[in-house]
């Protein structure tokens, strides 16, 4: 099968969905020219009516999507960098998440939000922080994040066809990662985790760039420690069943997440496993997260953020 990049897979999903459904459109800043490759060139096929650049007016930009969704359209809003979603946070978290439920579940709000996130560019906190945990904290919004080009295409398609708001950031550290991606139409359903590697000694739950890091570590430990690796693929809804099934076998869990330790989604997983799988555990669930500091710029993110060394140490520790 052909291999394409993760960002190329996202672009393919956007283009195919826009072809399929006239109501799908894209709004962002400089998406016509394409700050990141996934929007570049879409203007040629879909024109200015469906590829919209706005001023640096995040609320107006997001409002374009929100209002159009209320009108029955299916907008995709591109925040460029994940942190920029915070500029219109009251709209894109609270107003969005409560829309369907609070109004008596009369109408849905099918807005897809996306943005580049994560470390690797040495740009520091406001350009490097994670946002999936923050959105997973606010009810009424589905949250997913791809770790492979295959998942990227499938998750974006599922997000665009979902009738709910979906935040689906992508990690800048793997935007050029290549992998096999079918040319056909397929979806990766939101809420279904994927066992990316079978193992028997310990389960590692990891997402996006950290999933790729975990795979490297598992290869390295091969023969010594047998590591099972699960990719949640979506945080909301979260596939607890796949995780607990794995724990029945391994009885040990390491959660790797680039979000902060304090209040990050890894904590929620750990707490749920405690409540729902306490008896399965031979060792405490261990988290490898961003320590509770703003993501430093310069060269520091390399050793401060979760990385293969930290993941390996956690695995060894939990298996000791």
């Amino acid at each position: 099968m052909r291999t394409i990049t993760l960002i190329g897979a996202i672009k393919e999903a956007l283009a195919e969905e826009m072809r399929r459904d006239e109501d799908v459109f894209l709004v962002g800043q400089d998406v016509r020219g394409g700050i990141f490759p996934h929007t570049k060139g879409l203007i040629e096929e879909f024109g200015e009516e469906r590829i919209l650049d706005t001023p640096i007016s995040e609320s107006g930009m997001y409002g374009t999507a929100m209002g159009a969704a209320q009108e029955g359209m299916r907008p995709i809003v591109d925040f460029m960098f994940g942190g920029f979603s915070y500029v219109t946070f009251s709209e894109c978290s609270v107003s969005t998440g409560q829309y369907h439920f609070l109004h008596g579940s009369q109408r849905s709000l099918p807005v897809v939000m996306t943005a580049g996130v994560g470390t690797g560019q040495r740009l520091a906190n406001d350009h490097a922080m994670s946002i999936h945990g923050t959105f997973a904290h606010h009810p009424g919004i589905k949250v997913a994040m791809p770790s492979t080009p295959y998942d990227a295409k499938g998750l974006f398609k599922a997000a665009i066809r979902d009738n709910n708001p979906v935040m689906i950031p992508w990690h800048m550290g793997i935007m050029m990662l290549k992998g096999e991606v079918p040319e056909e139409d397929y979806m990766v359903p939101l809420g279904v985790a994927d066992v990316k590697r079978q193992g028997s000694d310990v389960t590692v739950l990891a997402n996006s760039v950290q999933l790729q890091n975990a795979l490297k570590v598992a290869d390295k430990l091969d023969g010594e420690i047998s590591v099972e690796i699960i990719d949640p693929r979506s945080f909301v809804p979260f596939d607890m069943e796949t995780l607990l099934t794995s724990l029945e076998k391994t009885n040990r869990l390491v959660v790797v997440d680039e979000d902060w330790e304090s209040g990050g989604f890894a904590s929620t997983i750990s707490a749920r496993v405690m409540e729902q799988g306490f008896d399965l555990l031979d060792a405490p669930v261990t988290r490898v997260c961003m320590p509770n500091m703003p993501v430093p710029g310069g060269y520091m993110e390399e050793y401060v953020a979760p990385n293969p060394d930290k993941i390996e140490a956690a695995i060894r520790n939990v298996c000791a």
């Binding site: 001023p55 107006g60 409002g63 209002g67 209320q70 009369q106």
Partner: protein, 327 residues
């Protein structure tokens, strides 16, 4: 544009209804028969009626939070029995009793009443975009207060509306107050609508106590917007006769608004003004006016009976959880 006799009749009827609906809400809140809060619209009832009476069903409306949008919604033809049911936490409420004051009538393109002031501005860009793309002449009537224009969101929406020539009417109901704060202190120019100049957007200031004057201006703006002439700003100078919301003191800054101030503003009570006008120009007789009032009171009685007869909404936690996401 001058109004037909029939148009005047409709406006007058809606004005009377809106005013009586507001008084019903006030009374019920004092009786402990409403949940959450209520922001009375007494004295400021004409702008919403003037803006909304001649909207089509498929025009978008952001109703002002004052009077919880009832003046606007009943004028647009929405049956608000389910509104009162919602405000009393009933199963029959327009949002199944879940929303407190966050009502929604999506079939009438009233999508939301945000709890965040100024959060009407962003989505109205999207409504305008959809209207423009569909090219069926829909307009967006975006009603909010003077205070809401403090939000940068107002700027962003005006900017984008003017860039894209969207059919949005920025309808500012300037009652000179934002809770305890006066527009005098909170906005540096005489008119909030001076903001429109920054975008080269046409603006008009109108006497907001005169429902007919408001309607004339609104009709012209609606017609222009339908033709694709782009956004327009309408500022209505109006009043808030009461405290901001029931239970809050009636202050300006940190001092009580004075009896003299009240007397002054109450000289131009919108229902009285309209009554004088329709009597003077012989649009209506006193008997007809009395009948309109009677009918409105009867309508409101039914609205109350409907809400009161409904069950309190008490879905189980599981049911609620199953309703967070759309299928």
């Amino acid at each position: 544009m001058s109004l037909t006799k029939e148009q005047k009749l409709t406006l007058f009827t809606n004005l009377v209804r809106a005013d009586l609906y507001d008084k019903m809400m006030y009374r019920r809140m004092m009786q402990g028969k409403l949940i959450g809060f209520y922001h009375p619209i007494e004295g400021g009832v004409a702008p919403g009626v003037g803006a909304c009476t001649f909207l089509n069903k498929d025009d978008n409306l952001n109703p002002h939070h004052r009077g919880h949008g009832m003046a606007h919604m009943i004028s647009k033809g929405i049956d608000v029995r389910t509104f009162l049911a919602e405000h009393t936490g009933k199963e029959t409420g327009c949002c199944k009793g879940r929303s407190a004051f966050h009502f929604s009538y999506p079939d009438h393109k009233v999508y939301q009443m945000s709890g965040f002031i100024g959060h009407n501005f962003a989505p109205c860009v999207g409504w305008g975009y959809a209207a423009k793309r569909r090219a069926q002449g829909q307009v967006v009537m975006n009603c909010s207060g003077d205070g809401s224009y403090g939000q940068g969101r107002a700027h962003e929406a005006m900017l984008m509306a003017q860039n894209w020539k969207l059919p949005i009417i920025f309808f500012c109901e300037n009652n000179g107050m934002s809770i305890f704060s006066t527009a005098k202190e909170m906005h540096p120019t005489e008119n909030i609508s001076s903001l429109a100049q920054g975008f080269g957007m046409p603006a008009v200031v109108v006497d907001g106590q005169d429902v007919f004057a408001v309607a004339e201006v609104a009709l012209a703006a609606i017609a222009d917007a339908r033709k694709g002439k782009g956004p327009v700003f309408i500022e209505c100078k109006t009043e808030r006769f009461t405290e901001h919301d029931i239970g809050t003191p009636d202050l300006a800054g940190w001092e009580d608004r004075t009896p003299a101030q009240h007397e002054d503003m109450r000289k131009r009570e919108p229902v009285n003004l309209a009554t004088e006008r329709v009597l003077a120009d012989k649009t209506l007789t006193q008997a007809r006016i009395d009948a309109i009032r009677e009918a409105a009171l009867k309508e409101i009685e039914e609205v109350e009976a409907f809400a009161d007869a409904s069950e309190i909404a008490r879905p189980s936690e599981e049911e609620l959880l199953a309703n967070v996401f759309a299928p």
